[in-house]
Subunit: 128 residues, 2 copies
């Protein structure tokens, strides 16, 4: 399992339309990636380390995918459309990196691997 | 729901013990944060944007929490121990940022909010 991180560096006064990003851009990208991407995440930077410090990144997203090859093939096919949409929400050039998922989430048994079988999951969900 | 990102910048030859980080440091931090943290994620940087480009960050983790206040209170109590453990896996100073979770994961209905009730979840899980 890999993670493609797209991170938009913060700068004072720079434009970033978080609503467009969440409601238009990200769903469009996911539709183009299809099964090459299992799911994506989106976040909005709030603060850095010290009091009053701005976040390093004004926004970030990540595409969780089974493989780099699958992601790249899908992106290659739709890259022009995806890249062409960026100007609709920002002028910031993102930092992009590909990571290996070491722990997908610590509260679930599955670590860095995809489910491979159909099955039923019955569980008690508890408030946090 | 907020996300505390800890991101270790990549530099050629810098020490980072990914095994210690995954097996020792992160579980210890989670144990100290307790219910202040719902779960954490860990990743290992593989590559940057272009061919042969190194990743911006050699490793990253994130703590998904209900609130900044809860996280900070727990961290304040155990900060010395947590920070004191860093030298066991790296000398790299991390970039830290707090983000608002906008989309926790795109394939689940819950978006940026915690479950608040006990209940049963019955679902069909499909292979990816």
């Amino acid at each position: 399992m890999i993670k493609v991180n797209v991170m938009y560096p913060y700068s004072e006064g720079a434009r970033f339309d978080h609503v467009y990003y969440r409601d238009r851009h990200m769903p469009m990208v996911k539709a183009r990636l299809g099964r090459a991407c299992t799911y994506y995440t989106v976040e909005k930077g709030l603060a850095g380390r010290g009091p009053g410090a701005p976040p390093a990144f004004v926004a970030m997203c990540a595409f969780i995918c089974d493989s780099v090859e699958g992601y790249k093939a899908a992106f290659q096919e739709h890259g022009a459309e995806i890249l062409g949409d960026i100007g609709n929400y920002t002028d910031i050039a993102p930092v992009i990196q590909i990571s290996e998922v070491v722990v997908e989430r610590s509260d679930r048994a599955r670590t860095g691997s995809s489910p491979t079988t159909f099955g039923y999951r019955i569980g008690l969900s508890e408030s946090g």
